[in-house]
Symmetry: C2
């Protein structure tokens, strides 16, 4: 990787920062956050403004350019990558290190008195604006919204905003019509005495209307907003997509409908003016519900006294609890995904010893096998295919410069997943195609113990996921080991592979309690810099648990693995497992045999079936 | 318990709420929080204003009186007690229930437009004021500070503020002179570029100056404030206490000292005016450090731009990490405490079958045995001595109306502790003096497994206590059981039995990471309403742990029990224990034998020694 040369670009940006054509008053600093107008985690190429101006294209980072400086804040996952991708115009600000100033503090330290700091109000979330603005104001500066993104003015070959066709999902996939979802949403609005709800997150728009798109890679979403009133529905979306007869019928655009279910389709770009009109027409006590992470621009459209902001919207919470149709879809998707991975691992077992399989080849082969499955749409994230020392880079993605050949002497870690029309998958398996060392097996077994501790945990209804995180670490901690990432994230149903409002992490975040029907990942790991990485990840469904007693009638929950891919027994030091853990592995493998075995059989994939049977032989503990 | 008749008192309070002698403008509501001007958990009789006005004397509760209403907010521990103690003038607001309004929301719903809500600015913490004031203002009301407490104006027989003699602690107890503590504090102030530090919490003043008092029952503290400058020390304290030659010498009041260690003694009541003078004299960039829980009155004395507020003060954090002298003192205190409890349980074993021992008699006997020990000062909290169904009331304290006789048919729970000059103890044991049922043993054993899971946990340096809470619950959760309180709290060294900034709880609070030298309690439980209560509590010291590996060179921690009192083996279903758990119990009991046995021997308490030896026979698991 050679760094991007940004001298000329920065010169241009600094010019437009003073150009009255673009800014009302000159700004002395301009902030370029990651993210788009919907605060998405994954973004479209046209929204990769921070990568364009700096060269650094990791998933998280904020650039700030002043007359004199250009600085980039990013976290530990990306220190190395950012340092490689940026030229000497840029200063890397390593977040999480003690001496690294916050963006606000840095701005205060470098700006001349009474400076204006500009930012695109559509890109910055309202809560971030508030925090930043407060600090800047108390130091005598001003955070100002700059209409029209300044990067766009100098990005001459900026790709167009994608506007791909939509997919309609019928009841067999969604379990609930969009009309019923609107009814449920309006009842939540009534509970909170709210008159309007603004849908700003792309996956929330997609879920609400039972539509999917492909505007953003890996995430089956499309650029749109919606405003739901107590008897109006406005959908803000561009392009010919609304001319598609299937979409028109799905949304009943041409039917005679009760007025409260009539969808008014409006241009994507008119959201702000429409919302301002809503804001201007409010009577006292009429509130508008927005996520507190919605953009500053949209939040400001509603006068402060009329805003009702929450960290999680009612759609976010409803979307997280999968209904029967969604759960069944997720099960089907995971069985197909397991078939693809049995094929892959069987193939790797034969090919790796020949010394011709690289990380990229393996990743491509995984995609090939997945694409053979019914209702396959695309991958759900960039495949992490890593062998040996590359496995220790937690967010590794093989590129030609780093591409390593799989061998019988190194651990191979594959974290991959797909979007099927009936569900989203995300699975990590760690394999050895030769003979693992005792130490590698020991570490793998601690990770497995942590994985089982979460997966088999029984906990009361109302428990938040973060209370389970230590279970995943306990076996590692006992030996002085640990891993520096969370244990699990919410998973969408043919939607984003990362979704709120629940998760399993040591980081204190305002997660919502786990409830039956929620789906999360369980993925502890262990990474040894320069040597290897181990991670074992299943997607698991929260289900009710039967318990001997039932304190205060609260009921209990546990997890059911949806992922059904063998865990390599060769990597397990069975003497480190308790009897209960050993039984868990054997029962899990028995289920893989039964469920995935039947599907392999049905698909006539006999060699992969034989591999599955070999890999799922019961473990036996020495008593 | 018959309720307190408050009709006349409420009438008087409503009169002073409008009386220009006491309020600048009439207030339509008056808030009476728990707590004193130091935001103490335990308060002196003169500060029990909420109990005076309402009759409800639980440890937590806030009263609000308006022209029409009188309402009391308290939590689940006190619903029953509050309902019994208050007459029909009062409405009980059950905190934690879904339909219970917050104080702010309730005020907004009952007050006429443009109301004034009064509160004593010394009693309300600044962070609470801020939250409440914001909500009230946005609804058109005003939160106003009322100088002079309105309850005091109608409390004709209000007891005097205590002003008891002080105890000086020498280096053998404290390990660090007050001068060295001031030096360390000033270095923390320099790190944060702060010019002044205001000590508002009573235990922080006591710790800083190596003094103890007895102004508040159970807490060896005294009413005082301090303001520490970069070269001044002001101590605000009343009474003849500063005439005591021992105190004068301890504080070197009459010595020729470097000016920066010269203590200026000032009247307790002059803190506000002195702090206002400090506030008025600040140059730009000179900051004043206060706890964000300090009173609104003191916080307001410093102009906003000059305040430096943190949830935990540097004293709170330094105080939590015990030095070698303090740790040794805590060890000694716990050995003496164990001697007293061995005597008690031996005595109970003989006396209970006679049917004459009540909860109060047992509690008094525990105090008697403790008071025989060297350097005993007082109890560290009101003894929870509870048998049968009373054990299920988590914060039970026996009174004549509830006093129950111990018997061979019921479980007995004793949660008690003492202040010794060398340390503070807090221990809970659950005993059966007859034959426990299989179910009682089962529940006890789950609680024990949770206790051991925390006590034996190994975790990385930097781990926060709340991440360990689920370990204590896992065995209970597996069977559908749980307990509705936290697992542990910080414990002071001859100071408050509850102290910050660490603890072990499922409640997300901003606890500081555990570090070697911190001392917390480990006290899981199980409570069955109407039947019995089980709790097993040790005070444990955070110590470095030896581990096989050492990830990122972070180092690991674990706990060492300071409490050395046998855990009744009769209550244990040994077949529910793992081998590791069984070994833990046997090693713990072996240590009790060695350490406490030697002390019992030394004190010539041979019968109690024989009891100890009987109670610490090793467990044997059926293989």
């Amino acid at each position: 990787m050679s760094p991007k040369i940004t001298t000329e670009l920065l010169k241009q940006l600094r010019q437009v920062m003073k150009n009255p054509r673009y800014v009302q008053e000159p700004v002395q600093a301009y902030i370029v956050p990651s993210g788009d107008a919907h605060q998405s985690e994954y973004i479209a190429p046209c929204d990769c403004r921070r990568a364009f101006i700096s060269g650094f294209d990791g998933s998280a980072g904020t650039a700030i350019v002043t007359e004199q400086h250009a600085a980039m804040w990013t976290d530990g996952r990306y220190f190395l990558q950012a340092a490689h991708q940026m030229d000497s115009n840029w200063t890397l600000m390593k977040m999480g290190l003690k001496d690294t100033p916050t963006q606000e503090d840095w701005l205060v330290s470098v700006l001349p008195e009474g400076s204006k700091v500009g930012v695109d109000p559509f890109i910055i979330p309202a809560d971030q604006w508030k925090r930043m603005s407060k600090v800047l104001r108390s130091a005598g500066h001003d955070l100002v919204p700059v209409k029209g993104n300044l990067i766009d003015t100098i990005w001459t070959d900026c790709p167009q905003r994608p506007c791909k066709p939509l997919i309609t999902l019928d009841l067999s996939y969604t379990g609930l019509s969009w009309r019923d979802k609107i009814v449920a949403l309006r009842s939540k609005m009534a509970e909170r005495k709210v008159m309007w709800f603004v849908v700003t997150a792309l996956d929330e728009v997609a879920w609400l209307f039972n539509l999917r798109g492909s505007d953003v890679e890996y995430n089956p979403v499309f650029f749109a907003y919606a405003i739901i009133g107590v008897n109006t529905i406005r959908l803000f979306i561009d392009g010919d997509r609304m001319m598609d007869p299937a979409v028109r019928e799905h949304l009943q655009l041409d039917s005679t409908l009760e007025p409260e279910f009539k969808i008014q389709v409006m241009p994507y770009g008119s959201i702000l003016s429409e919302l301002q009109a809503v804001g201007a027409g409010l009577s006292p006590k009429e509130k508008v519900w927005l996520s507190d992470k919605a953009s500053y621009a949209l939040t400001e459209a509603i006068p402060k006294a009329y805003r009702y902001l929450t960290p999680y919207t009612p759609i976010c919470i409803a979307k997280a609890v999968k209904n029967a149709a969604e759960t069944e879809g997720m099960r089907r998707a995971h069985i197909k995904d397991a078939v693809a991975l049995c094929e892959l691992f069987n193939w790797l077992e034969k090919e790796v010893p020949k010394g011709t399989i690289t990380e990229i080849v393996a990743a491509d082969k995984a995609e090939e096998f997945r694409s053979q499955q019914k209702d396959f749409v695309e991958l759900s994230f960039a495949t992490i295919s890593s062998t040996g020392p590359n496995g220790a880079i937690i967010h590794y993605k093989p590129v030609p410069e780093t591409n390593r050949t799989l061998s019988v002497n190194e651990i191979y870690l594959l974290d991959s997943g797909a979007q099927y029309k009936d569900g989203t998958t995300d699975v990590t398996r760690t394999m050895h195609f030769g003979t693992p060392s005792a130490y590698e097996k020991e570490c793998f077994t601690y990770v497995l113990k942590g994985h089982i501790a979460v997966s088999a945990a029984i906990f009361p209804n109302g428990t938040k996921g973060h209370l389970l995180d230590s279970f995943a670490r306990s076996a590692l901690w006992d030996c002085g080991l640990d891993y520096l990432h969370g244990t699990g994230h919410g998973v969408g149903s043919f939607l984003n592979v990362h979704e709120g409002p629940c998760g399993i992490s040591y980081k204190t975040f305002a997660d919502e309690p786990l409830e039956a029907g929620m789906i999360v990942s369980d993925e502890p790991g262990y990474y040894e810099d320069g040597s290897f990485g181990i991670r074992i990840e299943n997607v698991v469904l929260v289900i009710p648990a039967e318990t001997k007693y039932n304190f205060k009638n609260r009921g209990s929950l546990t997890f059911e693995p949806l992922t059904l891919v063998p865990i390599q027994t060769k990597m397990i030091d069975v003497n480190l497992l308790t009897e209960k853990e050993c039984n868990w592995v054997n029962e899990y493998h028995q289920k893989c045999r039964e469920v995935v075995g039947a599907e392999l059989e049905r698909q006539g994939r006999h060699e992969a079936l034989r591999w599955l049977l070999r890999e799922t032989e019961p473990l036996a503990r020495v008593q």
